[in-house]
């Protein structure tokens, strides 16, 4: 193959991680720079390019790279821009990120948001190989989604489709960072799980290991550790979280009837603690004609590399 590699870039609020990936989804080499340390966009791009160039040299130069794929918060596939991203250090409403990189490196570049990148990653290298209809749900600090229909990512008319973390699952429910109430991510993200823990500890009086931790410092990891050590309250938190996800998934299925829903991101480390209640409540709430048809799977991308692999997959089709 003349151009056997792609370059994946995951723009996170703390770090920007990038790496060279082959057609089988092996991360050949990778590196990173601090996103947060760059308040000036030009400086950031300069450092990013300086970080990428040595990787390109090691694989035989930029001619070996088919394309660059970028996953970024609020990344818009149609425009190749990062739009209105509240958590990145550059105060611009629209950053033509794909074009900037293409100009700097001379390689075709495509960009999308991180959850869409995860979906393309699963389709190219992971749990969704061979599938034409599936949904990836990312359970991290927030909840994101990438939806594939007929083998193509759903971008919608404006490039912003697939924000299932902001489906409203409880009318007048928890306040969300988006300014509305009751969004899925306020309950089922890693931070949502910690929030449920604080809520339970506050309104209930039963014993729990979680009471040993200062409430505002509790993380989803603490809830997980308590749950696997037999803490009943912590187990209930996962039960509730899974119930809300299962109900939501039953509704998602009425939309695109996917072959699988694939869970991705930090919270999936909870494994069966989360998957069992999701499966139970999805099955309980689903319309008859869909029952038992949609698989529930965990991501098959290696956790530490997943974001870069997902982004890189977009590079194969970059123009």
């Amino acid at each position: 193959m003349e151009k056997p590699y792609v370059l994946g870039i995951d723009v996170g609020r703390t770090n920007t991680v990038f790496g060279v990936v082959d057609a089988r989804g092996n991360l050949i080499m990778s590196s990173s720079i601090k996103t947060g340390a760059h308040n000036d966009l030009d400086d950031y791009i300069k450092d990013l390019v300086a970080g990428i160039e040595p990787l390109l040299e090691q694989v035989g130069g930029k001619d070996k790279i088919r394309g660059i794929g970028v996953g970024a918060p609020n990344g818009n596939y149609y425009t190749g821009s990062i739009e209105f991203a509240p958590n990145l250090p550059w105060k611009k409403t629209q950053i033509p990120f794909a074009q900037i990189l293409k100009d700097a490196l001379g390689i075709p570049t495509a960009l999308t948001n991180d959850a869409n990148a995860a979906a393309i990653g699963e389709m190219t290298y992971g749990a969704a190989r061979g599938m034409k209809d599936f949904i990836v749900i990312t359970l991290g600090t927030g909840v994101g989604s990438g939806i594939v229909v007929n083998g193509t990512l759903v971008y919608g008319h404006d490039g912003f489709a697939g924000e299932l973390g902001h489906m409203i699952v409880r009318r007048n429910g928890r306040m969300c960072g988006c300014g509305r109430q009751g969004c899925l991510e306020t309950y089922t993200s890693a931070t949502g799980v910690a929030r449920t823990a604080r809520e339970y500890l506050d309104i209930r009086s039963d014993k729990s290991m979680l009471r040993d931790i200062q409430p505002e410092l509790i993380t989803s990891k603490d809830v997980y550790d308590a749950a696997i050590n037999g803490d009943g309250l912590a187990q209930e938190i996962f039960e509730t979280t899974g119930a809300i996800l299962g109900e939501a998934f039953a509704d998602f299925v009425t939309f695109s009837s996917p072959e699988a829903i694939i869970l991705f991101g930090g919270l999936t480390k909870a494994g069966d603690l989360l998957m069992n209640p999701i499966r139970h409540h999805m099955d309980k709430n689903i319309l008859n004609i869909y029952r038992g048809k949609t698989k529930l799977l965990f991501s098959q991308l290696k956790e530490s590399d997943a974001a870069v692999l997902g982004a890189s997959a977009l590079g194969w089709e970059a123009k």
Copy 2:
């Protein structure tokens, strides 16, 4: 054009309506038979074919027909079958309707459910011409949906995608014919509107013209007539119905970010009485990045012909 026409067939529980349609969406001629009068499927097919043949002769024979499109309850595009349709007279779990017609008439035939047919009709001849991403919502006895993404109908992995009438909008809400509670259609179908009327009349004591009608006989048409005659309670019923639809539409947008949501079916006769609250509540509940972007439109297919036109549009791509 050698084959300038298609044949559309709308299989309803009472009547089966069929007609010949040209490429501009003009219904050239049409006819119908009684669905309900045929308990035997073979008799029904015989009468249907006997009804269709004179139409074919009048347009110059079957060689003038590019294809047949069928809209039917629980129609599955992939299999060409009507599956588990509870309201049709034939007690079969799977009727290979497209194949039966193809064999009987020798014309390529495709089949889908009625709401999907409506979506293809809007895309081919109606309000969605030129659009690649939109959703059609049918508001009739039930609530159905046809979702188009990237210019293609969303069928899902099993052919049953797009049952948005069964999205759960109120947990533990109204009982639905599907056996679950709180589905969108229990509130926002024509029957849902009548149900709301009975509920309001029962729990409230304010005056209303609707009190002159026996509660179990109230229809959405009665509620409409009362509302346009200034009846406050009837107007509130449309306000509530529109609010639930608007909230649901805001959630639908997070999925596929459509250019438009198009309303189709009997209840749309309510016009602004329904559209104004939908618009208000959709706007109020929508995620910021989508606000003001998705058009709300009424179907542009002529009401009386709409179902046949929708079905016929599928005939252009029948194989």
